[in-house]
């Protein structure tokens, strides 16, 4: 296991840009393919936006922890991302799937963010631990030659 990044942000939407720029920097060091980098950025953007916008019932300042590390060997390497927040209990895995086949008129405008995360990541794991939401995401790395 190789720790890549570990940071704490406050529940302010402006903080997301900071997370993204740190991820961009890390992924050029690893380096990650454009595809994987984009999947990670997008997932973090969607999940953090959700937590910050809907996760809190008060106006206090809260901390959200973001950890990113690598696991596995040559052919099966993974990026693992863990998000921990003390907001209201929210398990994205229990959210109803968006129905992509609905005609435009009936299509729901919301819910796409979580759907994207589920599609872009290889594994999602949720647990409620000590009044905190702990969400772990796993993404397989592609080698450059694989296509």
């Amino acid at each position: 296991m190789t720790q890549v990044a570990s940071l704490q942000i406050t529940n302010d939407l402006k903080e997301i840009a900071r997370v993204i720029s740190i991820i961009e920097e890390c992924s050029s060091n690893i380096p990650l393919s454009f595809d994987v980098e984009n999947a990670i950025e997008l997932s973090l953007d969607e999940l953090l936006t959700n937590i910050i916008s809907y996760g809190y019932n008060d106006n206090d300042s809260h901390l959200i922890t973001v950890d990113l590390w690598l696991e596995g060997e040559d052919d099966s390497k993974f990026v693992i991302i863990r998000l921990v927040d003390d907001g209201v209990k929210f398990n994205p895995l229990e959210k109803k799937e968006v129905d992509l086949d609905l005609p435009l008129e009936e299509k729901q405008i919301g819910g796409l963010g979580i759907h994207l995360v589920k599609k872009l990541m290889d594994e999602l794991h949720y647990e409620r631990r000590e009044d905190k939401n702990v969400l772990t995401l796993k993404k397989k790395l592609k080698t450059i030659k694989e296509s």
Binding site: F34, D35, I144
Partner: protein, 403 residues
């Protein structure tokens, strides 16, 4: 950085978005679309080619706008989403509710319907029959990379390496490698070609395989290490299709015919074709400096040690994909570009030689067909292509270069 521009495209309006469309910028996108709807626009084109990133905040804006527009018989049309955005559209189910035009050719067809299919016309040039589709594109910019001087003596070293960011161009050729440290890649330079952001390198070593990085696999921060060559940033001014002719046609004849339709003196040629016999050459050894001094690799005694250059045509019926520059009158060329056309040559082209295969004959599918072939077929070599090479049929696209 994020930018929004609005411009006219025929009778419609086009919004060009650049950069990131996320929770912060999506309200600007929403306003730009709402403003156009308020001004009475009904078919609105959203050019996504310079978009780096889109999150669900952006998707929501498009979905809401499409709902509004449908009520008044209008719609959004997306133009040229990059692969990363296309992928997000697909997993969001956007493909079914939006029209997505992969390029301007397709957009023209969408906007003008069948009327536009006749926009592709048949022409006869020097006795050759072509189908031609003219596109509105500004002239491309061209730049030289590195120098050819040290190839002859095999004396390239670290200081001759020119790292070029992959996003600075969409077409290029030269002697190149990929990697971070010179010591890691110094032995892997080879003939290379970049076609529409897809990179192919054939390392000049025994038993080499073609190394490639397709558009969607590019790493933003990584550069391609060139020793020499040139690059273009631009898009097609025309696409032509040559179906099988009664006799075999050389590349030289095709170029002479196409030149009649090209306005600029210097132009980029991009092709996807079926070979009738390739005359090409590639380096067998990497011309970087070593302890042995080399007098001149082009000289008779050394030539065959350094170059693979068979005298008979090979690879008949294989598919070829290539890029290069063609000059009509070399004397009009600025000195910094003359060096790309040594001796009496007026073309400098690198071609990817792939497995045998079939090509679509639908001119509007050129880009799609290229993408399919790069994804599905195995590449055997990248070679410097001689204009004596024989072509059976294929697509030939022209990129005019600003003078």
């Amino acid at each position: 950085m994020f930018r929004i521009e609005t411009e006219n495209i025929g009778l419609n309006k086009k919004i060009i978005l650049s950069g990131r469309i996320d929770g912060i910028t999506s309200s600007d996108v929403e306003k730009a679309i709402d403003d156009l709807i308020a001004q009475g626009e009904r078919t609105i084109i959203i050019d996504l080619s310079p978009v780096l990133y889109i999150s669900s905040a952006g998707l929501r804006i498009f979905l809401a706008a499409q709902k509004e527009l449908r009520k008044i018989d209008g719609s959004l049309i997306f133009l040229s989403p990059p692969d990363s955005v296309q992928k997000i559209f697909e997993i969001s189910g956007f493909a079914g509710i939006f029209t997505i035009a992969p390029d301007e050719t397709f957009l023209n067809i969408v906007l003008n319907g069948n009327k536009n299919l006749s926009k592709a016309e048949m022409i006869q040039l020097n006795g050759l029959q072509f189908e031609i589709l003219s596109l509105n594109s500004p002239p491309a910019s061209c730049f030289s990379i590195g120098s050819y001087d040290k190839q002859k003596n095999s004396s390239y070293s670290l200081q001759d390496v020119v790292p070029v960011p992959q996003t600075d161009f969409n077409f290029a050729l030269g002697l190149a490698a990929t990697g971070i440290e010179f010591d890691d890649y110094r032995n892997y330079f080879g003939e290379s070609v970049v076609i529409n952001n897809n990179l192919f390198i054939y390392p000049a070593i025994r038993g080499a395989k073609v190394d490639f990085i397709l558009e969607e696999e590019r790493v933003k921060s990584e550069t391609i290490k060139f020793l020499n060559g040139f690059a273009l940033k631009g898009s097609f001014n025309s696409i032509t299709l040559m179906k099988e002719q009664e006799k075999l046609i050389s590349l030289k004849e095709i170029i002479a015919a196409l030149s009649l339709k090209v306005k600029s003196n210097l132009f980029g040629l991009v092709f996807l074709a079926v070979s009738g016999g390739v005359y090409g050459m590639n380096l067998k050894k990497v011309p970087v400096i070593s302890e042995h001094s080399v007098p001149d690799i082009f000289e008779n005694s050394l030539f065959h040690e350094w170059f693979d250059f068979p005298v008979e045509g090979r690879y008949s019926n294989h598919l070829l994909a290539g890029f290069g520059l063609v000059v009509k009158d070399k004397s009009l060329l600025p000195d910094n570009l003359k060096k790309h056309f040594p001796r009496n040559t007026s073309t400098h082209i690198h071609s990817l030689i792939m497995e045998k295969g079939y090509l679509s004959h639908k001119i509007e599918e050129f880009n799609k067909e290229m993408k399919r072939i790069f994804n599905e077929l195995t590449s055997l070599k990248v070679q410097h292509l001689m204009s004596d090479s024989i072509f059976k049929s294929g697509f030939f696209a022209i990129i005019e270069v600003e003078s």
